[in-house]
């Protein structure tokens, strides 16, 4: 078999796959390609290719919305963070996601959906004009393919460490598979595969926490084992150790988590990052568009069960300690980053192991498909059509979408090879991506909720917020002592700096937008219809049964979220 040709000697890998495992992985690849070929005939128009015909149900849009974010690096990275920091890592799934997802569904989605925009930069064009769209589209397109390449390289590295697969083989086979099925079937194919991948991720990853809890003696048994293995350290409380920077291993204060992560970063990502918002724009009607993020939030709340719990179980049951990457390389031990595959190998025999690895590959592919389909849309509609060729036929733009899907993947592959040569690029690009999210949230939020915001205010707020974020990052790079000013404490660590930098850049964006708006002439209200609160008639849900209303379901999800905070306080 082709795959076995590329597999390296057993001594250099963490897991050995048998023939049944390789069969499972091969069948998965065949299925995603088959779906792409099957859906090709349904992707003939621009609406079909870029917005999946706007006919997705709330469930499909919601699962796809979540799946596009649920990459394998996310699974492995947060399992590693759970081993390192304990249950604190759950903040990125709960306070760092749920309020923002519910806010997107209930407050922001009506404006995105009613305006009939095809993208987030497209909304900025309608609300603030061409310059704001160009700024956000170019930065988004550029950063999306770069991030995609970095994720591709990181995934290939994981496959090399875990399975011994050749790094070039992993990069080319997985990325070309994604390129083929997205180029053929467009967003519909990406969404279909994301739903499939969502199911596989759960089917493959759920075994670990179930068997792990049996081995550890349930939740209480696990907590007792962790306390015995790591005396004096608290790995199992969410909030009680966040009163000061020194009391928790993340070196972060609760204000950083609530305001930086829970407010700016989370709301910025979940409400304005087109990678995820695009899935909801494909919903069949406004109710489905509002329900999709609510459904996504309900499932997001459960993801710690398959991501955080394996990390905690690693603390409880593994007979050897895991360590940082550098220490692991020096001592020949295992790093935190390997905790998920180590737990997979601990409980899963032939067949289940193949399913678990398929879940990791599925996670990678869903994340990458999200990146390239969003890139294709923003490039075609917000850059190519807006700035280069305004009046071409619809078929021309569909062809452009197909080609730039392939181009996006090739640029991502090129980035992956660049990162392989110059690894420090990874830190810079990840920092760059964070520069745009927080200010963009400020611009979109004011655009939707404040009709006095003017086109000049929107543009200058976005630009100044972004430049302010870059300046703060450069300041700390040049003078590490500056972290005391950015993150309000000399004890703050990198994570805290990111949180506070996001908060300040959001405030800069909002402040500049408000100031410039008061100095410039607002748009007439007639031009804001369908775009801004107070100028848009949102269809009433009064004739709908209570249990079918998105606001009611969001209330239930919000209540469960609060109860979980109290239980794990």
């Amino acid at each position: 078999m082709l795959l076995s040709f590329y597999i390296q000697p057993a001594s250099s890998r963490l897991i050995s796959l048998g023939s049944v495992d390789i069969t499972i992985i091969s069948i998965y690849f065949a299925m995603v390609l088959a779906i792409g070929f099957y859906l090709k005939r349904q992707a003939e128009t621009g609406e079909d290719f870029f917005l999946a015909g706007r006919e997705m149900t709330a469930w499909i849009a919601g699962l796809s919305f979540l799946s596009a974010n649920l990459g394998s690096l996310e699974l492995m990275g947060w399992a590693a963070a759970a081993y390192q920091y304990g249950i604190l890592a759950t903040h990125w799934y709960w306070v760092g996601a749920i309020p923002a997802m519910l806010f997107l569904g209930i407050v922001m989605m009506p404006f995105y959906y009613i305006s009939k925009t095809h993208s987030v930069p497209g909304y900025l064009k309608l609300r603030f004009g061409e310059s704001s769209r160009a700024l956000s589209a170019i930065t988004f397109g550029f950063m999306t393919v770069l991030m995609s390449g970095i994720n591709m390289y990181s995934m290939a590295l994981v496959m090399k460490v875990v399975l011994g697969w050749d790094i070039h083989f992993s990069i080319w086979v997985s990325s070309l598979t994604v390129a083929v099925y997205v180029a053929l079937g467009g967003l519909r194919s990406a969404i279909f595969n994301e739903v499939l991948q969502f199911v596989l991720i759960w089917a493959g990853a759920l075994v670990i926490p179930i068997v792990g809890l049996i081995e550890a003696g349930g939740w209480d048994g696990m907590v007792a084992r962790i306390a015995k293995n790591f005396p004096g350290q608290d790995f199992t409380h969410l909030w009680s150790t966040m009163g000061s920077f020194q009391d928790n291993p993340m070196g972060i204060h609760w204000t950083g988590i609530v305001l930086g992560l829970g407010w700016v970063i989370s709301f910025g990502y979940w409400t304005t990052d087109f990678l995820v918002v695009q899935r909801v724009l494909a919903a069949k009607d406004l109710r489905a568009a509002k329900m999709a993020p609510v459904i996504g939030a309900a499932f997001k709340m459960m993801v710690p069960f398959i991501v955080i719990l394996p990390g905690l179980l690693g603390l409880a049951v593994l007979p050897f300690p895991l360590m940082g990457e550098a220490e692991a390389v020096a001592s020949g031990g295992h790093s935190y980053n390997e905790v998920l595959p180590i737990m997979l190998a601990r409980y899963c025999g032939p067949g289940l192991l193949g399913l678990g690895i398929t879940a990791l590959i599925a996670g990678f592919m869903s994340g990458m498909a999200g990146n390239v389909s969003a890139f294709a849309t923003v490039w075609t509609y917000d850059i190519y059509r807006a700035l280069m060729k305004k009046d071409a036929a619809d078929a021309h733009y569909v062809a452009m979408g197909r080609w730039c899907t392939i181009l996006g993947v090739l640029v991502s592959i090129g980035t992956a090879y660049l990162v392989m040569e110059f690894k420090s690029i990874m830190d810079y690009v990840q920092a760059l991506f964070s520069f745009f999210i927080a200010p963009l949230f400020g611009t979109v939020l004011l655009g939707m909720l404040w009709k006095r915001a003017t086109p000049a205010g929107g543009f200058w707020g976005l630009l100044c917020g972004t430049l302010g974020s870059i300046a703060m990052w450069a300041w700390v790079k040049a003078d590490p002592g500056a972290i005391a000013y950015i993150a309000l404490s000399t004890h703050a660590k990198d994570m805290a700096e990111n949180m506070y930098r996001a908060l300040w850049s959001w405030l800069i964006c909002v402040g500049v937008t408000v100031a410039v708006s008061y100095m410039t002439r607002p748009k007439p209200e007639a031009e804001l219809t369908g775009l801004v609160y107070g100028c848009t008639e949102i269809p009433s849900e009064a004739d709908m049964p209570l249990y079918k209303r998105p606001i009611f379901m969001a209330g239930i999800v919000g209540l469960v979220f609060l109860v979980l905070q109290v239980i794990f306080w």
Binding site: I24, L39, E55, I191, V195, R346, L352
Partner: protein
């Protein structure tokens, strides 16, 4: 809950894949009963592969039946 017009539901594709994976995992579990592995996984005696394979097979078969193209109006 299909999300497409006049075409095969995504849940049917999902059902096929889950069914096939379930059968393969169940088969591997049955094989390991008669040929115990040299290095068994932790809690091997629970035969998780048999249970999980059976669950996936049942769920996959149900989805294949429920969302079969022939059952569409």
């Amino acid at each position: 809950m299909t999300g497409e017009h006049g075409s095969i539901s995504i849940w049917f594709f999902t059902g096929i894949l889950v069914l096939v994976f379930g059968v393969l995992i169940l088969g591997a579990g049955i094989y390991s009963l008669s040929n115990p592995p040299e290095h068994p996984v932790v809690l091997h005696e629970l035969h998780i592969d048999l249970w999980w394979g059976a669950v996936l097979t049942a769920a996959g078969a149900f989805y294949c039946w429920k969302f079969a193209p022939s059952r569409k109006e």
